[in-house]
C-alpha cells in the first residue's frame, strides 16, 4: 500500500493531500493545472519538505513528521520523470541512462539495461548527445534513466506535456508496455483524461490542493459524485474487454465484457487480447424498447441506477449493463418525455465506441 499524507503551505496555496493507493499498477493523480499535483510529487520524492505528513510504501517509511523520519532524497530510491526531462547535457544518452543504474546498488533489480532500452525503443540513441534529441526522445530517455535506477516507486510529472501530439502516442505505448512488464508502482500526474484512460489502474482526483476522490480507475469514471470527472464534456466510462472473433466479411469484431458484449467495426484488434474501450456519455442514447430498424450497432439492455442533473444543464444517467456501468447524457426534456427514473429497464444505444489503448 502506498500511503500519502502531505500538508504544506506554499505562498497563498495550501497543499493538504491524503490518500492511499495499491502498490501495484499505475495510480494517476488527475486534476487541472495548479491543483498542487507537481508539488505533491516533489514532496514524495523529498525535494519539498511537508510541514506535516507521512509518506510510505508498504513497510518502508520515507517521511513521517511525528516520528521525525525524513529520508534524504538520494536514499529514497524514488524515480522521478520531470516535465522537462532534465537530462544531463554534459553526458551522452548512454551515460545518462547509466547514471542512476550505477548508484542503485542494494535495491531489487527490476529491469535490465537491455530490457529498458528495448521497451523504450531508445537503442538507436545511445551514442547521441542529449542536445540533439527531439522532445519525445528526451522524455523516453528520461523515463529509462529513472527506471534503471531501479526505483521503489516511479513518479511521472506530466511526461507528455512538452511533447508534440504525434510523439505522445509513442510514449504512452512505452508506458503501457512498462506497466505490463515491469512491476514498479507508478504515480502518474496528468490533466489529460485521454492519457489517464490509457494507463491508469487507480485514480486520485485533485482539486485545489486536496485529493477529493480516490478509487479504482474504471469505477471512478462511472461515478456521478466526482464533479471533476462527471462534469466534463467528455465524461464517459472505460470498459475492459476481451476481443473475440472477427467477422472478416463485415469487418466487425465482438468485444466481450463482464455480462455483455459489444460489436465494433473498423478497429484494429487482435482476438484474445484485452483492450480498454472508451464510451463517452454523449455517445449513448436511451430507448424504452429495442428500436426496430435502427442503425446502432450496439443496443444493450440496461437498468438506470442513478439520475444526476449536471451543472451544464443536461442529465447524466448511470446505467448498469451486465456487470459494468455506462454513463449516458440526455436532455431534461428526454427524461420527462420518456419518464426515466432510477430502477427503470431501458436500452442503451451506443453511437460510438473507441479504443483507449
Amino acid at each position: 500500500m502506498l500511503r500519502i499524507k502531505v500538508a504544506r503551505q506554499l505562498g497563498d496555496f495550501r497543499l493538504d493531500v491524503r490518500f492511499e493507493a495499491p502498490e501495484l499498477g499505475v495510480t494517476s493523480l488527475f486534476g487541472a493545472s495548479g491543483t498542487g499535483k507537481s508539488s505533491l510529487l516533489q514532496a514524495i520524492a523529498g525535494l519539498l519538505r511537508p510541514e506535516r505528513g507521512h509518506i510510505s510504501i508498504g513497510e518502508l517509511t520515507f517521511f513521517d513528521s511525528e516520528h521525525r523520519i525524513d529520508m534524504p532524497v538520494q536514499d529514497r530510491g524514488i524515480g522521478y520523470v520531470f516535465q522537462d526531462s532534465r537530462l544531463f547535457p554534459h553526458l551522452s544518452v548512454e551515460q545518462n541512462l547509466r547514471y542512476g543504474q550505477t548508484r542503485s546498488r542494494g535495491r531489487e533489480r527490476r529491469i535490465s539495461f537491455d530490457d529498458a532500452i528495448s521497451v523504450l525503443a531508445i537503442d538507436q540513441l545511445l551514442e547521441r548527445r542529449v542536445h540533439d534529441l527531439s522532445g519525445g526522445e528526451k522524455q523516453r530517455v528520461a523515463i529509462g534513466r529513472a527506471l534503471l535506477a531501479q526505483p521503489r516507486l516511479l513518479l511521472l510529472d506530466e511526461p507528455l506535456a512538452s511533447v508534440d501530439d504525434a510523439r505522445k502516442d509513442e510514449i504512452l505505448a512505452c508506458l503501457e508496455r512498462l506497466r505490463a512488464q515491469v512491476p514498479v508502482p507508478m504515480l502518474y500526474v496528468s490533466h489529460s483524461l485521454t492519457e489517464v484512460v490509457r494507463i491508469a489502474d487507480h485514480l486520485v482526483v485533485m482539486e485545489e490542493g486536496v485529493a477529493t476522490a480516490t478509487g479504482a480507475f474504471r469505477e471512478m469514471l462511472s461515478r456521478l459524485d466526482v464533479a471533476a470527472l462527471s462534469e466534463r464534456p467528455d465524461a464517459g466510462v472505460v470498459v475492459e474487454c476481451l476481443a473475440g472473433e472477427t467477422d472478416e466479411a463485415m469487418h466487425t469484431t465482438v468485444l466481450l465484457f463482464q455480462g455483455g458484449a459489444l460489436t465494433v467495426s473498423g478497429l484494429q484488434v487482435k482476438s484474445g487480447s484485452f483492450y480498454r474501450v472508451r464510451i463517452a456519455a454523449r455517445d449513448v442514447a436511451i430507448a424504452l424498447a429495442m428500436p426496430i430498424g435502427a442503425s446502432f450497432q450496439n443496443m444493450l439492455p440496461a437498468v438506470i441506477r442513478q439520475l444526476h442533473h449536471r451543472q451544464r444543464g443536461d442529465v447524466m444517467l448511470r446505467l448498469q449493463v451486465g456487470d459494468e456501468f455506462f454513463l449516458a447524457a440526455v436532455t431534461p426534456a428526454a427524461v420527462a418525455r420518456l419518464g426515466l427514473y432510477e430502477g427503470l429497464s431501458v436500452f442503451a444505444l451506443l453511437k460510438s465506441v473507441a479504443l483507449a489503448g
Binding site: L47, Q74, G79, F88, H90, R103, R129
Partner: protein, 228 residues
Amino acid sequence: MLTDLEWSALRLSLIVATCSVAVSLPLAIGVAWLLERVRFRGKALADTIVHLPMVLPPVVIGYLLLLGFGVHGPIGAFLDRELGIRFAFTRAGAILATAVMTFPLIVRAVRLAMSSIDRGLEDAARTLGAGPVDRFVSVTLPLMMPGILSGAIVAFSAGLGEFGAVVTLVANIPGQTQTLPLAIYAALQSPTGEQVAARLATISFTLAFAGLFLSELLRRRVQQRLGR
C-alpha cells in the same frame, strides 16, 4: 633574441602565473560555492573581503601580505619555522601575491557559472541516488567547467602582469623574483633599456591577448558541447 635575464623573467612569470592559478582555483571554487549556495551571517562582509584585491591599491595588498607573511609576520614566521617556507623575497612570495590579486577574478567567473546552472539537474541527480559530494563532482562541476576554465585563463593572463603586490612583497631581484612586468619596469629605469622594455612589453601584450582569446574560444566550445 632575448637575453638570459629576459628569458628568466618570462619563465618566472609563466611559473608564477601557473602556480598562482593552481593554488587559488580550488579555494576559489569553494568560496564561490559558499557565496552562491550557502546562507550564512556576514555574507556581505565575506563578499566584500573577497573582492578587496580588485579595488585596493596593489601596493597595499603587498604591504598587508608582508605584514602577515613576512619573516616576522605571524603566518610567515610560523610557516618558516614549521615547514621552511619563506615568502619574503622568494618565488613563493611572488606566487602568493599573484594568487591573492587574481583570486577575485576566478571567484567571480566561477560564481557566474554556478548561478547559471539549472538547479533542476541537481535535483534530478538526487532522485537518481547521488549524495552531495557525488552530485557536485558528477553534475555541478562539469556544468561549471566553462566558467572555471575562462576564470582560470583570465587569472593566468592577469597573473603574468601582476606588479604592485609582487614588487612590494618580494622586491625586484633579477633571476629570483623579477617577473615580466618587473623586468619591464627595471629596463625603463635604465637609460639604455628602451629596446628591452619594448621587446618585453610586446611579449606581455601577446601573452595577455592570447590568454583572453583562448579563454573565449574555450568558453564557446564547451558551451556548444553542453548545448546552450
